[in-house]
Symmetry: C2
Subunit: 209 residues, 2 copies
């Protein structure tokens, strides 16, 4: 019983963090949902900040090695098609996050979005410190597909693409409400990604055919 207290906390925390954001989720809410004692969070994780990192680490440790593998096998193709095929090759690794936890893929992206503008850079620094090499590899692969686009232009386009993804998932609850109200359509992560990849591929590749 004692052994899975950490996991119970992680599971409860990620759900609440994704729904409400980090700041607006209290340790009391987390421990109540996990059905564990309030003090156990600090015993197992030391602090709330560490808990936030631990929640994301569970996903990054699964995702990043797969991305490294995909990038190592990746064949460079230039232009929109190349960007799109590169991005599509990242989809299966992303989808395996739902093996970590039910709805894991959606949770992960939501958490990423929350982290980007709620933690004042703490989370970003944590990511770049622990997984910076994988991120750099992805940027290099993208650059190889678009040799005519210069560095800082590619920098912009990549962040617009991240914004599209992260914002859409971070506000997916709002979007779900809108989409279901307007179109009576269910919103799930796979649908978002399949709509997203062509969008950002076009945007990233720009005017190149």
């Amino acid at each position: 019983m004692a052994k899975d207290t950490k996991v119970r906390i992680l599971n409860a925390a990620e759900a609440l963090f994704a729904e409400q954001g980090f700041t607006q989720t209290s340790m009391r809410a987390i421990t109540a949902r996990a059905d564990v004692n309030l003090a156990s969070v600090n015993y197992h994780f030391g602090s709330k900040k560490n808990l936030i990192q631990a929640v994301l680490k569970r996903y990054f440790d699964v995702l990043m090695p797969q991305i490294d593998t995909v990038l190592a096998k990746h064949n460079v193709v230039t232009g929109v098609g190349g960007v799109q095929s590169l991005l599509m090759s990242l989809v299966p690794p992303m989808m395996t996050l739902s093996n970590v936890r039910p709805k894991g893929t959606a949770l992960f992206v939501q958490l990423l979005g929350r982290g980007y503008n709620e933690t004042q850079g703490h989370l970003r620094r944590f990511i770049m410190h622990d997984y910076g090499k994988s991120v750099a590899g992805l940027m290099a692969a993208l650059h190889a597909s678009l040799p005519e686009v210069d560095d800082h232009e590619l920098f912009w386009r990549l962040h617009f693409a991240i914004g599209s993804f992260v914002f859409s998932m971070a506000s997916s609850q709002a979007l779900t409400e809108i989409a279901e109200a307007d179109f009576n359509q269910d919103v799930d992560i796979q649908a978002v990604i399949l709509h997203l990849v062509p969008f950002v591929s076009q945007g990233i590749a720009g005017h190149s055919a």
Copy 2:
């Protein structure tokens, strides 16, 4: 002296809200920065939630009538070019927000991004209630430029586009750090928009030429 207390509060609040987010900004921090008494916020605005709405209302009341005017004069052109020209026509109204306040355009977009995933829909409901007509007009104009794209596909692309914009500005502090470190390049709102418009125009228009 008494007369501009409301304005002092609004100015201090918007700066802190944009920097730190709504939840993480206390009324004490706001009143300290505004150099007014703590109790004056509740006297003038009633609550923190009302203050948040008042901060955004200052910008919406300037922006939305201009967007209505632009849309009324807009000539429909289909395809990527039409989308791009439509979006470009929204840039001047956006830029006038810097007349409301120094750096007003950037502040507004940052606040919008914060509001979208920090206020649990309160702000979105406020916007749609007070300015929903203008938003609907913009969507209709976009649809006219892309008659071959169906409703829910356009819905997705539009939200990706909003995500690109809002995320980029909401995390502009982080992006500024990265950009200046990597490319020694200053990041300002005009630069973001000029990079963004082609990106989202391509993305929204999709495969249509």
